[in-house]
């Protein structure tokens, strides 16, 4: 019996050894890309830039293909910065990565992308959440083999796309917007229903209508600081960075405010700005340096005009990068 027990324990240890030495690295590159980068980047950089697709997206017409983080790196003398990005990542995904930064590592400044839309229901209840949660298993502060087994055995919540959709639609229908001015449409659903884009020759400008719906769904919300999961995650990030003595910057990404205004009107812009103000106030009070890019990029510098994204042309990326670089330089010696 003892021998059998030893055989099992020995197999587990051998498995752990072989997995860590041979399989973990390639699997991390495939499944947990941000951690794969972090393991090296944290030792060779002063600043890390954590982002999503906004960092690397380039327009087909761009001659300058640099990412935002590369542009920042080229503009900050005396500091070295590297970007780590994975599409659709949000604060909940950045959090475990930041938690894994070694306190003795070279990196002492961290710029974390704060995407306004990530606070909204379409992103919170995204069908991709299940896949992201699985990836998160690889970011646990545990042995590589254990993390892998967690992913394989579904140790994470895996809400189906249908369930996510249902929750989102429920919020669109029943979450009311409370404002001081007259708002005839107090839910996303009624607001979207009310938007009309009549054409002079009759009928409706359907593409415009669809885009307006996207804007309303993406930005017409009020951040509930008690229940919004992103707030919880950003709070934790601020806390961890304080503990690790890392200077933290939240980079509020530019949104196409111009289009929001022209498509839907000032009431939608009100929500965008109110949410931004709330975030700036909340996290400034927590000692985070806030970089506000919300209104910095003109509409023409948004690469995709038929969708609500934070994908900028080279000019747009440069504006965001310079704003971040300027702020970083401002706090260079701190």
């Amino acid at each position: 019996m003892i021998l059998k027990g030893l055989a099992v324990i020995g197999t587990v240890f051998l498995s752990h050894f072989i997995y860590s030495k041979i399989y973990w690295e390639p699997e991390l590159k495939d499944q947990g890309y941000m951690l794969f980068n972090l393991r090296e980047f944290q030792w060779h950089n002063d600043v890390l830039y954590l982002g999503e697709s906004s960092n690397y997206w380039v327009s087909p017409n761009d001659t300058d293909k640099r990412t935002i983080s590369d542009m920042i790196n080229d503009s900050i003398d005396g500091m070295r910065l590297s970007g780590m990005q994975v599409p659709a990542y949000h604060a909940g995904m950045f959090l475990p990565i930041i938690d894994l930064i070694d306190t003795s590592a070279r990196v002492k400044k961290l710029v974390v992308t704060m995407n306004l839309r990530s606070f909204g229901k379409p992103w919170i209840y995204s069908p991709q959440e299940s896949a992201l949660l699985r990836t998160k298993c690889f970011y646990q502060n545990a042995s590589p083999l254990y993390n892998r087994l967690c992913a394989t055995l579904g140790f994470h919540a895996s809400p189906s796309a249908d369930e996510q959709d249902k929750k989102m639609l429920h919020c669109f229908e029943f979450d009311t917007l409370k404002v001081n001015f007259e708002l005839p449409h107090n839910t996303i659903k009624t607001w979207c229903e009310q938007e009309k884009f009549p054409l002079p020759e009759g009928g409706e400008d359907f593409p415009k209508r669809v885009l307006a719906d996207h804007y309303i769904k993406g930005y017409a919300f009020q951040i509930d600081v008690n229940n919004n999961p992103r707030i919880h995650d950003f709070d934790k990030i601020a806390e961890i960075c304080k503990q690790k003595n890392i200077q933290l910057y939240f980079n509020i990404l530019a949104e196409n405010v111009e289009w929001a205004d022209s498509l839907v009107g000032p009431s939608l812009v009100y929500f965008m700005k109110t949410n931004r103000d709330l975030l700036v106030k909340r996290y400034s009070e927590k000692g985070v340096i806030m970089i506000d890019n919300l209104e910095k990029v003109p509409g023409q510098y948004f690469g995709e005009k038929d969708w609500t994204t934070e994908h900028y042309t080279q000019e747009g990326r440069m504006i965001v990068a310079q704003n971040v670089a300027k702020t970083l330089m401002l706090y260079f010696n701190q």
Partner: protein, 464 residues
């Protein structure tokens, strides 16, 4: 709850420990509660369907047994079958055959509540509904034909219907085989534990290492067959053939292993089907519990082989078509069933009789594998695209980055299956000495820990 989920690894020891701590008279209650928890972990609402089905068949069986009049017995049987098939139709086939049709969509469109209900029926398929519905129906039919005496204890009957190891994907057990075992007093026996763990280990190896690793290849090819060269399409189709076997065989093994820990013997569901020499033999070796169900409750009542040839042909085709439809509400499953029916008839009536066992085996495997294309494809067009891909039409150029070790593992699995012969895995292990056995266990454990697929993959047959 899935066997390959972390929660099951907490659930099983807990239920096992409590089961043997409790006095015999309360054990059924524990197993029933555990079974409902196991099922309800996914969506508790659907436990209600099992309870309705249980109550109905319990009651109907008593009524059938109490009556001597054939007409009355028949009426009760009709009630049970129509209710069970009605539930099955409502949750599995209604949306496909009725709800999604244009006229129904137009009819319900102005009525929000009805539209929501129709949409719900389109999306909400209670897992394993075909399995437990067939199991309860077999009970009522057995009572009707006088092959079984009805269970007088509602709780024991409820356990028979919902017994968690085989609730969601079989084997579809017969009342006479399972019920008495469930009611018997069991004690912890070393032989049962040894056998149960052995079978479970092999089941997890087959599911998590073989089936899950093939999933990537299969999904990549079937999603976009035109993007790959012909040889990758062929590899994809072959991979699915092994994936579905490993997935379902793995599930059945784990179910058998778990039941064995409690002293229960579940029937074998597979007997190395890909080594069959003809389609008839294949169906005697593949999903045995379903095949025998169709044989006993459909094929034989239709007249079996004691009818005229034309009628027999129709009966055979009907059984295969219904078997296809049993798997899912999609034309692809019906085509898959029809293909098997046609293969079966060709084999029977073909004037050419092959002598070589090898040629017959290869031909059977190729036929079965080609039919799987319809089983796996989301729709008819996708299946056609896979066939086109296999013969090089729309020849793509993309190369698949499948890890070669997967095919090595598949080869090892194939050798193990071939080598164990007709022995069950636990009996196969008994042939070897302790060192050899434990080397094999450690190898399988190592593969499960290190080489299993990283994606959390539900069992394919859960959908049915």
């Amino acid at each position: 709850m899935l066997f390959n989920s972390w929660i099951f690894f907490l659930f099983l020891p807990l239920v096992f420990g409590l089961y043997f701590l409790l006095p015999q008279r309360w054990r059924w209650l524990l197993i029933l509660a555990a079974s409902y928890l196991f099922y309800g972990w996914w969506k508790w609402e659907f436990v209600i369907i099992i309870i309705v089905s249980t109550l109905l068949d319990f009651w109907v069986a008593q009524k059938i047994d109490a009556s001597q009049e054939k007409a009355v017995r028949k009426r009760w049987l009709f009630l049970s079958l129509s209710a069970n098939l009605g539930i099955l139709f409502l949750f599995k086939y209604f949306y496909f055959f009725v709800g999604s049709t244009d006229w129904v969509q137009q009819l319900v469109h102005p009525h929000q509540k009805i539209r929501d209900l129709v949409d719900f029926l389109g999306k909400a398929l209670p897992v394993g509904i075909s399995f437990y519905t067939f199991q309860t129906m077999s009970y009522t039919l057995d009572v009707y034909y006088g092959r079984a005496k009805p269970e007088k204890h509602l709780g024991h009957f409820a356990v028979f219907v919902s017994y968690f190891p085989q609730l969601v994907a079989g084997p579809i057990e017969r009342f006479n085989h399972l019920n008495e075992q469930l009611k018997a007093k069991h004690t912890i026996l070393y032989e049962n534990l040894q056998s149960g763990f052995r079978i479970m280990l092999y089941g997890f190896f087959v599911k998590m290492v073989i089936a899950d690793n093939l999933s990537y290849t299969v999904t990549s090819i079937f999603n976009e067959p035109s993007k790959w060269p012909f040889y990758w399409n062929i590899v994809g189709v072959l991979s699915f053939s092994f994936q579905i076997y490993a997935d379902f065989f793995g599930y059945s093994l784990i179910a058998q292993g778990v039941a064995k820990l409690f002293g229960i013997n579940l029937m074998d569901n597979f007997n190395r089907p890909y080594l069959s020499k003809n389609i008839t033999e294949f169906w005697k070796r593949w999903h045995i519990s379903l095949t025998s169900w169709f044989r006993d409750y459909l094929y034989i009542p239709l007249g079996g082989n004691k009818v005229k040839k034309q009628r027999w042909v129709i009966n055979v085709l009907l059984v295969f078509l219904i078997s296809g439809l049993w798997h899912g509400a999609n034309y692809t499953f019906i085509i898959w069933g029809a293909l098997h029916g046609i293969f079966y008839l060709i084999e029977r009536f073909s004037p050419i009789k092959l002598r070589s066992t090898l040629v017959k085996g290869v031909l059977t495997f190729v036929s079965v594998t080609l039919a799987w294309v319809f089983f796996r494809a989301a729709d008819f067009n996708q299946a056609v695209n896979v066939f086109k891909g296999m013969i090089g039409i729309n020849d793509g150029t993309r190369q698949l980055d499948t890890q070669p070790f997967i095919f090595l593992l598949l080869l090892i699995f194939g050798i193990m299956e071939w080598h164990r012969g007709n022995l069950r895995f636990d009996d196969y292990c008994k042939q070897y000495n302790g060192f050899q056995r434990w080397t094999l266990y450690c190898f399988m454990l190592f593969c499960i820990l290190v080489l299993c697929g990283t994606e959390y993959q539900p069992f394919i047959y859960f959908r049915f």
